[in-house]
Symmetry: C2
Subunit: 111 residues, 2 copies
């Protein structure tokens, strides 16, 4: 656990030099929590959890944000894996990725 100052020299973008299980774990955790680190994204996740699935348009109507902004938030949620979207004809049906959700809950619970 003891780490020399020199070994810890590199910055945030490249933490590969640190003693690494906990560092990767921290980045993992940070990535997931960051997905929820915005009220709009929290509300989107909440919506999807209540409905098990949801069209993008429905989400937009529930939010005080422009469609493009909601789309961006959805993109972030997709990138972190918390949400997945399936194309359904001309629409997109979003739903929670329960696996990722479980992972997040476990990470937090095991803190």
């Amino acid at each position: 656990m003891v780490r020399s100052r020199a070994e810890a020299q590199k910055c945030r973008t490249t933490s590969e030099k640190l003693s690494l299980p906990d560092v990767e774990w921290a980045e993992d955790m940070a990535k997931l929590t960051w997905a929820l680190a915005h009220p709009a994204r929290v509300r989107i996740v909440r919506l999807l959890l209540n409905r098990t699935s949801c069209m993008c348009g429905e989400i937009v109507e529930e939010m005080p944000l422009a469609q493009s902004t909601v789309s961006q938030h959805l993109k972030i949620l997709k990138e972190t894996g918390l949400v997945q979207g399936e194309i359904d004809g001309p629409r997109v049906c979003y739903c929670i990725n329960k696996q990722a959700m479980t992972k997040l809950k476990k990470l937090i619970a095991d803190l």
Copy 2:
């Protein structure tokens, strides 16, 4: 739950007009998760959990960051309530606020 577009007009900084329990809840959640939305802060919390308390200097030695940067992260953790610091002579002794920690865990678990 149905909300008109006009009622949802205001932006993120002032969501006071929306039907409000869930909005406040979302902001609460976002605030707490945002505190953990950075690898450095996750690592700090992890450190404090392992030690039950920790001098600021020790934290700095464990991190690949400048003292001032660590101090800023600690400030954020203090503002969200996850961490509290007690002045101990010339040093400051940081420890986890278990109450806030419990709240966070409950919020996530109840998602």
